[in-house]
Amino acid sequence: MIHLNIAPIFKKEFRQISRDKRALGILVFLPAFMLVMVGYALNFDVKHLAVAVADLDRSALSRELVERMTQSEYLELQYRLAAAEDIDPLLESGSATIGVVVPVGFSDNLLAGKDAEVQVLIDGSNSNTGSVAQGYVSLAVRDFSNRLVMRWLEKRGASPSVPVVLEPKLWYNPELKSAKFLVPGLFGLILMIVTVISTSLSIVREKEMGTMEQLKTSPLWSNEIILGKTIPYLLISIVAATMIIIVGWWLFDVTIKGSIPLLYLAIVLFLLGGLGQGILISNVAHTQQVAFIMSVFSSLLPSFLLSGFVFPIDSMPGFLQVFSNVIPAKFFLVIVRSIIMKGVGVGPVWEQFAYLAMFAFATIGISAARLQRELSR
């Protein structure tokens, strides 16, 4: 490997890509387009949940409870009903997420010194919305209950003040915008698709068309073929990554707090790993359809599901948490989020860098060795 002759393949691949205008457009501009869509459309912010209330008690206390419940921006009183049965159809059709029934005698019980209950019905079909709704409602009821107790305490001459006041401070993302979390996360997903899928398909196409045989008979080394095939995609992906950064900053105020060269180093390492994975798949697959399924299942799905992009890894079952440690996107996302949102240097994320480098080295090394064997046959 004294002298690598990658220029011929490189030129050929670039000419092939640029001849296919749509593919080039997809590779360069679509990542940014996706970012726009995802940035606006995706968020978990559960707010303005529709509440249907059947206040059967119609007392001052029951009205106070309902008011306390629905005064935050999270729960919104949308239906006042006369009967408890009217809640069911609203939940069934999805018009309301929460139903509250204040039973007859609610106020009388409390005034007589007895405990009182309100019934809460929650549409749990979306488990996230359901559990957030449950949290808000039970917090509101508890607060109301504590307020009643405080009134009693005051009457009895004991201290009516709340013992602990929480002062929450939100770091890195004070307005709690999902976009700021998801935009850095999208990097991994988009770059993975561009690299793994497009390289594996482009190599397998040569196999399908029979042009791989011609390459084999040419005086080129396996390393030369691999580099010539991958460098064009590496360059295109770097351009795509830059587009993502610009659009994220321009539309979603995602500013990079840390070092930009460091971010690009992470991007290049991650891309190399993805390219290596793409070549590895092309070694195994004989048709583009198979290459496509294998790429989707080894890159797209894990990068979406197991990388921490939207689903917190801490909440997964143990075996998946262990398994997530082979997914490069997981480590890449930690680095990207730390650099972009927290502005950290290499220090806290050097392990992740080391893993990305290892992954890239391993996939490219193995696929080069396999290709070499194939060529010498």
């Binding site: 593919a23 997809i26 869509m37 459309a41 995706l42 912010d45 559960v46 707010k47 409870l65 409390l110 007589a112 010194g113 405990d115 009182a116 309100v118 019934q119 019905l121 929650i122 749990g124 079909s125 979306n126 488990s127 996230n128 359901g130 559990s131 957030v132 917090l139 009821v141 504590n146 009643l148 107790v149 305490l153 201290s159 003040s161 602990v164 929480l166 002062e167 929450p168 401070k169 993302n173 915008k177 700021k180 979390f181 398909l201 068309m209 195994v284 048709t287 583009q288 359809q289 198979v290 399924i293 299942f297 599901l305 689903f311 801490d314 909440s315 998946l320 730390s338 949102m341 927290k342």
Partner: protein
């Protein structure tokens, strides 16, 4: 009809010849369901907590214990200097940090409100929000018990309390899998039928064999049928597989009618095959076809259908856009059938929308395809 049958046989032979193809087509959806069933959880558990306890009293320890007692929090670090809380968040070791001031016990006992600082890593907005809600509930519970102590001191009376008797419908344990897995049925049906029908047609273009077929007496419509039917059959088989995994492995309740579910899958397939045909008309290579399907169809569909991200949370403009996404209706149908056990009496608007989308998209695609060939 005979021509279509011959084409069908040819297509299935082609699928079988590639030894990796059939296992992949059948295994892939199963893996996908299993992964999604386990991984796609937005439940917030195991919140990593860093604690600075400036008081080190039994009272402050009891307050912290309330966090761990819920099972949602794990204390990963006790720090001696409040500034180390920042480092724990910066390094990602903790996602929530509690700062308990000195004289916590003294102030609580004397009835003076104590200010406890909570530092949350807000980068994951959803997790931060839910963690803060847990903390607020824990603190309200703590207040309840302090009030009880104070009351006991002034006379031992009990004070009435209000509690919420909560019932969660359709998904009582609030399992993420119950919500996500039915959606996977829709997703897989779409990916398989659209991608493979498009790829199967474009492959003939790439190889140049489409001209050969068209000079035979086979009519374009027969060609289309011969290409689309195999993947319709495979798609239906996969729906069956995924349903099996969902019900038997994940215990997802299927409360509605299975027959209706398959019937409505048929309606949805009209749309997906139409899209596949459309993609094949505008693509010259398989790479193009797959990229087009992936980026222009699957991604918008995935993100705008309400599959993972609730449509109600989107800005109004985008909510309006989602009405143009056929998958949106099918996901509502599948979830309604699985979790709520409702039938056509509730789901007819969605079914009608799917029918209209299917007829229009498939009709236009067939017309476009025939024109290209003509």
């Amino acid at each position: 009809m005979k021509a279509v049958r011959e084409l069908l046989i040819k297509e299935f032979l082609q699928i079988r010849r590639d030894k990796r193809m059939l296992p992949l087509i059948l295994l892939a959806p199963v893996i996908q369901v299993v992964l999604l069933g386990y991984a796609a959880t937005v439940d917030v558990k195991n919140i990593r907590l860093a604690v600075y306890d400036g008081d080190r009293s039994p009272a402050s320890r009891a307050y912290i214990e309330r966090y761990t007692a819920t099972g949602y929090f794990t204390v990963v670090e006790h720090v001696d200097d409040p500034r180390d809380l920042d480092a724990a968040l910066d390094g990602g070791r903790a996602t929530l940090a509690v700062h308990i001031p000195r004289h916590f016990a003294r102030d609580v006992a004397s009835g003076r409100p104590v200010r406890v600082q909570l530092l949350a890593d807000g980068s994951d907005a959803n997790t931060a929000n839910i963690s803060l809600n847990y903390a607020a509930q824990i603190t309200a519970g703590y207040a309840e018990s302090i009030f009880a102590e104070r009351l006991a001191r002034v006379g031992g009376i009990t004070v009435p309390r209000v509690s919420a008797e909560t019932r969660v419908w359709y998904n009582p344990e609030l399992r993420s899998a119950n919500y996500m897995v039915p959606g996977v049925v829709a997703l897989i049906l779409m990916i398989i039928t659209t991608t493979f029908s498009a790829a199967a047609i474009v492959r003939e273009k790439e190889a140049g064999t489409i001209e050969q077929i068209l000079v035979t007496p086979i009519k374009p419509l027969q060609f289309i049928l011969g290409k689309l039917l195999p993947f319709t059959i495979i798609g239906i088989v996969e729906v069956g597989l995924v349903l099996g995994v969902a019900v038997l492995w994940f215990d997802i309740p299927l409360r509605g009618s299975i027959a209706l579910l398959f019937g409505l899958c048929g309606l949805f397939i009209l749309t997906t095959l139409g899209l596949g045909l459309f993609v094949s008309t505008i693509s010259r290579t398989q790479q193009q076809a797959m990229m087009t399907a992936q980026f222009f169809i699957f991604f918008p569909f995935l993100f705008l259908s309400g599959f993972t991200f609730p449509i109600e949370n989107m800005p109004p403009v985008i909510q309006t856009l989602t009405y143009g996404i056929p998958l949106r209706y099918f996901i509502q149908i599948v979830r309604g059938l699985f979790l709520k056990g409702v039938g056509l009496e509730v789901l007819w608007p969605q079914a009608l929308a799917l029918f209209i989308f299917g007829v229009v998209i498939l009709g236009l695609s067939v017309m476009g395809f025939r024109k290209r060939l003509g």
